[in-house]
């Protein structure tokens, strides 16, 4: 005698049971900024030390990676392990609502889109960067779409070097994001532009400055040839270092 207490139909695999690759989407503002940037475009984020320039760059980089674009992160003050940690922490904060398994799969899919290069500040130069990048390009190892240059000392940048970098970016179809450290004297004079930017801001398509406004860090546009920054109000949470943006009402 077979006792079958709960006769049921054969289980069928319903669609809900399948787990396709998790899709993580980019924030609209991130996508809009990145879409407006052309090859050779220069973007800069200005802030005093410790305000979150690296965190901002890393979030922009993560956004590009989510859009399946390859990014080259060049750091002049931190070793690979530290840069990797920035990415891991900000990724975890950004995707904490995802299940552990999903976020791991997203992370694994993102990693091939990132290449980190670190240089000692005193040894960094554009020709040296180009030499290193050529190693990657010639062998087909990595072809970045955006270059994030973090930690370049503003007092050691001059117009010639920026021209070099511009030419380098154009020749390699790169968009460039720079973090620029503002020194106290620069801001005390009421002039937020570091000296090198005063002579060279024509080379930049987009410049924004991070300013502490108490509970939030405000991301204020200083120059924006694309007009996109003025349509968003961007803030960084000083605790999580995550950037959020709201569409400014009345603008589209």
């Amino acid at each position: 005698m077979i006792i079958d207490l709960r006769r049921r139909k054969e289980r069928l695999l319903s669609e809900g049971m399948f787990q396709p690759d998790p899709v993580a989407s980019r924030e609209t503002w991130e996508q809009e900024i990145s879409d407006r940037m052309e090859d050779g475009a220069f973007c800069a984020v200005l802030a005093r030390a410790g305000m979150g320039k690296t965190a901002f760059l890393v979030q922009m980089a993560l956004s590009q990676m989510l859009g399946h674009e390859d990014v080259l992160h060049v750091s002049l003050h931190e070793p690979i392990a530290k840069v990797t940690l920035w990415y891991e922490e900000l990724f975890e904060k950004k995707f904490r609502q995802e299940s552990l398994q999903n976020s791991r799969r997203i992370w694994d899919n993102l990693l091939p889109h990132r290449f980190i290069m670190t240089f000692r500040v005193d040894r960094f130069s554009i020709p040296r960067l180009e030499e290193r990048l050529n190693d990657l390009l010639v062998q087909g190892i990595f072809r970045p779409r955006t270059l994030f240059l973090d930690g370049w000392q503003s007092n050691s940048i001059n117009r010639t070097e920026l021209h070099e970098l511009k030419a380098f970016a154009k020749s390699h179809n790169l968009r460039v994001w720079l973090s620029v450290h503002i020194h106290r004297p620069d801001s005390e004079e009421g002039d937020s532009y570091p000296a090198f930017l005063k002579n060279s801001d024509d080379l930049f398509e987009l410049i924004m400055q991070m300013e502490d406004s108490g509970l939030q860090i405000q991301m204020n546009p200083i120059k924006d040839v694309t007009g996109i920054l003025h349509t968003w109000s961007m803030k960084m949470d000083p605790v999580t270092l995550l950037v959020s943006a709201e569409k400014v009402s009345g603008l589209c």
């Binding site: 289980r11 049971m17 290069m117």
Partner: protein, 695 residues
């Protein structure tokens, strides 16, 4: 045993192969009166050097056995610990470097900084071990100590400071000029044991003065009193310079360089003075343990002899009197007859005979104080075990032992070899938790598993040489795993009627991927569809299925099994029937759950001169490596990549030839990742071929 911790030095001697490390150690033991005669490596007297216990070490250029020996110099006690030189021995390297407080980096005056020197230097940097350098073989043709100092600066990035000048070189090498005391030192007597001090020869005086000024200028950074004396133009005492050199050395900001010829018995005594003057005593080093009751949170150890004892067993050796355990005490006193707890298994052990080792001879002692190294008999333990006083739940090394990622079949040639091989495997598995062994039930072969190709290679060689066992090995195999990628349902009935009582059991539910555990079983049966007494049998059935995946017969990981329905028969259902039903259910669901093969991915870190950066990245890329990044380190760069282990076989040879032997790499297990489809097909073919040949 004395107990002034300030007078203790625990040092390692690291060197490139054939730099004269063994000869130097031999001379140190002679001058410290631990031996009464010196024997040369491969000398005519056939005795061989005291520390030179393993042939393999010379052949491979790596140290694989940590012999520790004790000697005294003046009122200082020096423990010399042999340091393993290769990165594959992750755990052994960590332990040896953990145990020593400072090191002598031996370099050949002719060969200079060679590849092995780069490896050992990288390890010392990683573990922040302060060191002094000794440029040996100044009597050899082509000896050029200033060039070696330059290489130390350019190739290893050391702030190397020459502390002595040679008096003559090559065949004319007579002695040294001490740049601190500004005296010439000659080594007389048959064994160079008689030191004769004279004025600096006129011909060397100008160079000696300028070198001394350079030296004082460089070390003045580390001493306020020296800086003041320089600025005020007052007399600079020898003690002031020595103190500044010591400070700089402890901070790893400078590397004092000494010169000599161990073979010609020249320069060894000043080197011993330097060890006691400039290298740290145990109290200069901060040691921490892991608190096992607080998720391995680091705890600072005091180094006080009054505090409860904490000691680390860092090496086991099979001697004529049984197992000998080398131990370093970090805090408290380990006395004969004391009872301590092994942190690994929580077992209480009583300390029996304590000895102090001198290579192959030993001396009985009553206790080992904090900061000291000794050995003990009759202690059943494994290498890396921590012994702490009762009530302390501390471990000196993490309890985490990584799973082996590579395996190899090993077959003894005859019965005698089989017995010897078993003895060897028994010992090695005790010494090294990352080295494991088991019997393959299908092929009846003994399988050894470890953390890398060289790791297993060395053990196979040791089985052959130390245990005189003739063995042959198969090709290395990567430890692949299987897992599922999606949820899949099962509803399987196991029914068998072959006369007598039959077998009946039905299980239904689903399996789904699980990311942070190997296996999870959940019972969601309601209403007694499967009686409670059969649920463990179901779980057992599923567990058994995981041992060998239905796809490729690799172990299956990361699976959650939920059973929510089933059926039983009042007479025919049994544990056996439900186990069989669970196995059937797993097979049924497994293929629907899109199984994939996982492979071990290694974190590979290559340090290479800049000119080879492109070539090394190319090599890694060819090996399916994902390059994480590159780090500029001046003359050299560091490339970090994630590369499948399967592609790394023979990499050391390839990288050596691509970089003229100038690059070195470390490799450690990082994670398991899915194998790309094309590779999965290849693996399937290989497995099928292997099965066919086994049949």
């Amino acid at each position: 045993m004395k107990s002034d911790i300030r007078k203790v030095r625990n040092i390692g001697i690291s060197a490139h192969i054939d730099s004269g490390k063994t000869t130097l150690t031999e001379r140190i033991l002679f001058y410290t009166k631990r031996i009464h005669a010196m024997h040369d490596v491969k000398g005519k007297d056939g005795v061989g050097a005291t520390m030179d216990s393993m042939e393999l070490e010379r052949e491979r250029g790596i140290t694989i056995s940590s012999a520790a020996t004790f000697c005294t110099w003046g009122d200082h006690e020096v423990n010399i610990i042999d340091t393993p030189g290769h990165v594959d021995f992750t755990i052994e390297v960590e332990r040896a470097l953990r145990v020593l407080d400072g090191a002598i980096l031996v370099l050949c005056a002719v060969g200079g900084v060679q590849s092995q020197s780069i490896t050992v230097d990288a390890q010392m940097k990683r573990y922040k071990v302060p060191c002094v350098a000794f440029v040996n073989k100044c009597d050899r043709s082509g000896a050029n100590p200033p060039r070696v100092v330059e290489q130390l600066k350019t190739r290893l990035g050391h702030n190397a400071l020459l502390m002595q000048l040679p008096i003559g070189l090559e065949a004319d090498f007579q002695g040294i000029v001490d740049l601190i005391s500004m005296k010439a030192v000659y080594f007389d007597g048959a064994g160079g044991e008689l030191l004769r001090t004279e004025a600096v020869p006129e011909s060397l005086l100008p160079e000696a003065i300028s070198r001394r000024e350079e030296l004082i200028d460089s070390v003045s950074l580390f001493s306020d009193s020296l800086t003041e004396a320089i600025l005020e133009g007052t007399e600079i005492s020898e003690a002031m310079i020595m103190e500044a050199v010591r400070q700089g050395t402890l901070e790893r900001k400078i590397t004092p360089v000494f010169i000599g010829s161990a073979y010609k018995n020249k320069g060894i005594q000043p080197l011993l003075d330097a060890v006691t003057r400039y290298l740290p005593c145990p109290a200069d080093i901060e040691n921490s343990a892991l608190d096992l009751s607080r998720e391995e949170a680091p705890v600072q150890l005091t180094g006080n002899t009054e505090d409860p004892v904490v000691a680390l067993a860092f090496k086991l050796e099979d001697g004529i009197y049984g197992q000998l355990t080398y131990i370093r005490v970090y805090q408290g006193i380990l006395s004969r007859g004391a009872t301590v707890v092994n942190a690994r298994d929580g077992k209480k052990v009583r300390i029996g005979r304590l000895v102090r080792m001198h290579a192959d001879q030993m001396e009985d002692i009553e206790a080992i104080h904090a900061g000291y190294i000794g050995a003990l008999f009759g202690l059943e333990c494994q290498s890396g075990d921590t012994f702490a006083a009762q009530g302390l739940n501390l471990a000196m090394t993490s309890m985490f032992v990584p799973e082996p990622v590579i395996s190899l079949a090993i077959v003894p040639k005859d019965k005698k070899s089989m017995v010897n091989m078993s003895k060897a495997l028994n010992r090695f598995t005790k010494e090294d938790p990352t080295f494991r062994t088991h019997l393959d039930p299908e092929t009846s072969e003994t399988i050894i598993e470890g953390m890398g190709e060289l790791h297993l290679d060395i053990y196979v060689e040791r089985i052959r040489r130390e245990y005189n066992a003739e063995v042959t090995t198969g090709n290395p195999r990567v430890a692949y795993r299987e897992t599922i990628t999606q949820k899949a349902a099962f509803n399987y009935t196991h029914r068998k009627q072959t006369g007598g009582s039959g077998q009946y059991g039905r299980v239904a539910g689903y399996i789904e991927p699980l990311s942070d555990e190997d296996f999870l079983f959940e019972n969601k049966i309601t209403g007694g569809a499967i009686p409670t007494q059969f649920i463990p049998a179901c779980e057992k059935g599923f567990r058994m299925s995981l041992a060998k995946g239905p796809k490729m017969e690799f172990p299956v990981t990361g699976v959650k099994v939920v059973i929510d329905d089933g059926a039983f028969h009042a007479v025919d259902s049994s544990d056996m029937a439900f186990q069989a039903a669970a196995r059937g259910a797993f097979r049924e669901a497994y293929n629907k759950a899109k199984p994939v093969i996982l492979e071990p991915i290694m974190k590979v870190v290559v340090e290479t001169p800049n000119e080879f950066q492109g070539a090394v990245m190319g090599l890694l890329n060819q090996r399916r490596g994902m390059i994480v990044g590159t780090q500029d380190e001046g003359q050299t760069c560091v490339i970090e990549a994630q590369t499948p282990l399967a592609e790394m076989f023979g990499f050391s040879t390839v990288i050596r030839s691509a970089t003229q032997g100038k690059a070195q790499f470390t490799m450690e297990f990082s994670a398991y990742r899915q194998v790309p489809q094309s590779i999965a097909e290849k693996i399937t073919e290989e497995v099928a071929k292997r099965k066919k040949s086994a049949a």
